[in-house]
Symmetry: C2
Subunit: 265 residues, 2 copies
Amino acid sequence: MASPMYRQIAEGLRDEIESGVLEPGQQLPTESDLQDRYSASRNTVREAIRMLMSLGLVETRPGQGTFVTKKMDPFVTTLVADPRTGDSDTYNFQVSEQKRKPSLSDVQLEMQKADAQLAARLGVREGSRVISRHQERFIDDTPWSLQTSFYPRSLAEQGAELLADDDDIAGGAVKYLAQTLGLQQVGYRDLITVRAPNAAEVTFFNLPPDGRVAVYEIVRTAYDQTGTAMRVTVTVYPTDRNEFTVEIGAVPNDLSQPGKGDPSS
Amino acid sequence: MASPMYRQIAEGLRDEIESGVLEPGQQLPTESDLQDRYSASRNTVREAIRMLMSLGLVETRPGQGTFVTKKMDPFVTTLVADPRTGDSDTYNFQVSEQKRKPSLSDVQLEMQKADAQLAARLGVREGSRVISRHQERFIDDTPWSLQTSFYPRSLAEQGAELLADDDDIAGGAVKYLAQTLGLQQVGYRDLITVRAPNAAEVTFFNLPPDGRVAVYEIVRTAYDQTGTAMRVTVTVYPTDRNEFTVEIGAVPNDLSQPGKGDPSS
DNA sequence: AACGATTTGTTCGTATGTATC
DNA sequence: TGATACATACGAACAAATCGT
């Protein structure tokens, strides 16, 4: 009598799923069926299913039924690159290598005041103005990530006017800054966190509104040859369709394609 | 009238939380209060709170109330290191740098059959035996990560007997393999994914059983000078108290300590 | 296009259990 | 011990989405 009824039901179904009795994509018994099978009320059965949903094991479709989750094949982003590159070019390259069609929205440009955290990262005073360049990124027409790059406004004032311009920067911002201001990107730091999506992210990525799918937030701070932060880029990815790799030193080419995810033993 | 009542209630409370009217750690109105405030039934109010919980904004404590979540300050793990190191030593070093006390469980050693995925990564035949060395890792006596390293059994047969031994390997396994077999770790690849915790992880990390706190799974495949995989390490961390960084090229020391997380603007 | 059957979604009422103070 | 607050469980009704006739 230790654990409540709804959890016992969830355990039972969970076992069936993880043992493969119920395969990915397959429909679970209806709530009505489960009521009979476990002699529990509908609400209790629903409680069990809700738990499985929260665990990412099943998904419900109104009017249809409840189904074992089929994991979509992830897109893998590589976080390292040669220190001298690591710009937006990298994005297109990575995507095309995996034979998917990337696309980008227009740049949405804003002047914003830096909050405490951003100011610290960018090495500017809190409350000072920064250039914010925001883009939506898609792969095969499904929303894949939201990216915002921040630059100190001083960069535009010193001659890199295109930064404060609403257009795409041909060849990438890193190259542009090298050409106009002589700024070399000599290194960067990525900070990887995971959190629940906010309302805008739920809308853009088409995520379930209850936050059961989290998002990665990757903050990349890039430094120039003087050790000064020249850019901070924040990119948000849903965790359900993204993975990341880091490669250090001599690493053979990736042959271990994740496969179908089928345990085809 | 578009969205259901429970979501409107959740929206209202969410606004109060995100605008700071309700501060982290503060108690929300009781379910009874919220019934009156929104003239909804208790179940509907609970539905709203459940959504906020799923979003990680609040937590409930039986007999006490519902409280705005206070983010615990994260432990930051750096994924890069010099290619020649990157062993368990790194772990102790990183932890002590942040002035926390690390501790490790005994090594739990097993011989296992490699499943398809592990076999591909480790470059062995599926179903062949591998050495599995499992450890629980704590920081300040709270469970922090679960780590399992896999080695081809051939390594132990070729002279690295300690791998198949139940003891800690003084100085780290990488150094040991270099000394006994001349294997140099020349590089590694990390694969970062996020998923719901399994039952064992829920227990060890003391996570809510409904899976609303996800875990990172970091798979590190290390290669020797011949381009052969010499080790695969799988480490699992709860997302609610861990962050990761990757540093490439010349990067100044990290001064941007994440602070208390307080928006003390 | 219309309708009915099926299935999940939302909301209410009520009762009882368990944890905390 | 009692009061308070959240957790579990049942029953019921109607709404909304989906599918087939």
